[in-house]
């Protein structure tokens, strides 16, 4: 069985680099993009979506990403 995670996508045109998405993120240190937003190229297995909710301009979306079996169990 494959576990589900999400990969976030940022609409850079609307992003105002406010940092709220990083501030609310419960992930471990370093889950940050090169533009000081939430990481965009790394699967997020928490998937609380708080970053999407807190974004003042709603420019964060996600796609569901299937992790290979055992990935989440090992964390």
């Amino acid at each position: 069985m494959k576990a589900k995670a999400v990969v976030f996508e940022i609409g850079w045109n609307a992003c105002i680099k406010c940092g709220a998405c990083v501030a609310i993120c419960p992930q471990e240190a370093g889950f940050v993009s090169n533009f000081d937003t939430i990481a965009v190229n790394t699967p997020c297995d928490i998937a609380c979506m708080f970053c999407e909710t807190v974004c003042p301009v709603s420019t964060i979306t996600h796609r569901v990403f299937s992790l290979p079996s055992g990935i989440l169990d090992s964390k």
């Binding site: 406010c18 940092g19 709220a20 609310i24 240190a29 370093g30």
Partner: protein
């Protein structure tokens, strides 16, 4: 971080300050002034940018931190407050009329506070730190830290693509509400969605102001927060708001648009032209219960040193930075190890100076926003804000 005994350390400092906002620069200033060898790093190329703050700070806050109110960073002097309820009825707290002998534009009087340009303010403070002897590295990202067996620690930095390891006694995490430094040390920094205000503001032309910070309460305009209109100097103003996303279904942008187009200020705003867009996450939360670890402390927004009623963080950052800088100078010069037992002293001093009052403010804020009835909640927030800014407020020092 790899533990390589062959690593050659390029530099050794008493403290490494990570982040050069008001908390970091003030900590660096007071640590350097008291004889420590200080390195302050920031991953940005331009301090204070992007602006994530409204820029309001009291004269008292600057004075306490030894910061001269320079025209280099002041956009406009302020003299009081106008607090509005949801219907637009307002209470004025203008110190030009309450204490005319102390506040005003006449000779011998001073402003109550200022709206500052954060880019220039942060740069000004960094300059003061450098003049006190601190070393500043820009475009330098802090990657990680490791406690060493000798009681010191090693910080891994990336400066213009070069990896540098620096040996130090204490890492001072001043990297803001998005702090990664606290996470390195396993400090519980997580903030609840119900306690992080989602903020958006426009700097605009074409809106008159009167030397007051205007605060607009009411669930319909800013659920779980408030809206504001601040003077911004040279005829500009700042219109913004912060909302709590667990108390509404729309984002801050929608609420700000609604406030500008439909509030009792719609006539006032109808010709405004947006010249800057800024935003931020503001923790309307309790300060962190633990703000230290072995070889590490957190200061400012990183430790949730934010006024939970107003969302203001500059005053608390300056005060906390001063406490941290002076405490670390005293500790390190004493020769005692910078372990968590000794660094707890920083938090104790901070609690005594301001932290206990900040906890009180947090409890007041929580009680207001836990009130289920929206009308009652609006009334409580309006009353609390009105009282907070009065000359008799018990909290005026924070």
């Amino acid at each position: 971080m790899p533990n390589n005994p062959d690593t050659e350390f390029l530099q050794e400092y008493d403290i490494v300050v990570i982040g050069s906002g008001p908390a970091g620069t003030t900590a660096a200033i007071f640590a350097a002034k008291n004889g420590l060898k200080v390195l302050m790093v920031d991953k940005k190329q331009e301090l204070g940018a992007p602006i994530q703050c409204s820029g309001a700070v009291s004269h008292n806050a600057l004075e306490q931190a030894g910061v001269f109110p320079s025209l280099e960073f002041i956009l406009e002097a302020i003299y009081g407050f106008a607090i509005y309820n949801a219907k637009g009825e307002r209470k004025i707290v203008d110190y030009r009329t309450i204490k005319p002998e102390e506040y005003g534009t006449q000779q011998g009087c001073k402003p109550l506070g200022y709206v500052v340009d954060r880019r220039r303010f942060d740069r000004y403070l960094a300059t003061q730190a450098e003049r006190e002897g601190a070393t500043i590295w820009l475009k330098t990202e802090a990657i990680n830290y490791r406690n060493d067996e000798d009681g010191h620690c090693t910080v891994e930095l990336k400066k213009f693509n070069e990896t540098i390891r620096v040996k130090t006694k204490v890492v001072v995490g001043c990297d803001g509400v998005q702090s990664q430094v606290g996470k390195w040390a396993g400090i519980k920094t997580h903030i609840k969605l119900s306690e992080l205000a989602s903020c958006l503001q426009f700097v605009v032309d074409g809106v008159e102001t009167e030397g007051l910070l205007e605060i607009i309460t009411g669930h319909q305009w800013a659920p779980g927060g408030y809206a504001w209109v601040f003077p911004k100097g040279h005829g500009y103003a700042e219109i913004g708001l912060g909302i709590t996303r667990t108390m509404c279904t729309e984002n801050a942008q929608t609420y700000l648009d609604h406030f500008i187009k439909n509030s009792f200020f719609k006539e006032r705003f109808k010709n405004c032209r947006i010249i800057e867009i800024q935003g931020g996450g503001v923790p309307l939360a309790a300060p962190l219960k633990i703000q230290y670890a072995n070889n590490l402390i957190l200061v400012g927004d990183a430790a949730r040193h934010v006024n939970a009623i107003t969302g203001g963080g500059i005053h608390t950052a300056l005060s906390s930075g001063k406490i941290a800088g002076e405490f670390l100078a005293s500790l390190i010069k004493s020769g005692k190890p910078a372990n968590e037992n000794n660094l707890k002293g920083y938090q104790d001093e901070w609690l005594k100076a301001m932290g206990n009052n900040m906890w009180k403010l947090y409890r007041v804020k929580r009680k207001i926003f836990e009130t289920a009835d929206i009308t009652q909640r609006d009334e409580q927030l309006f009353e609390t804000m009105s009282n907070y800014f009065s000359p008799t407020s018990e909290y005026k020092k924070i």
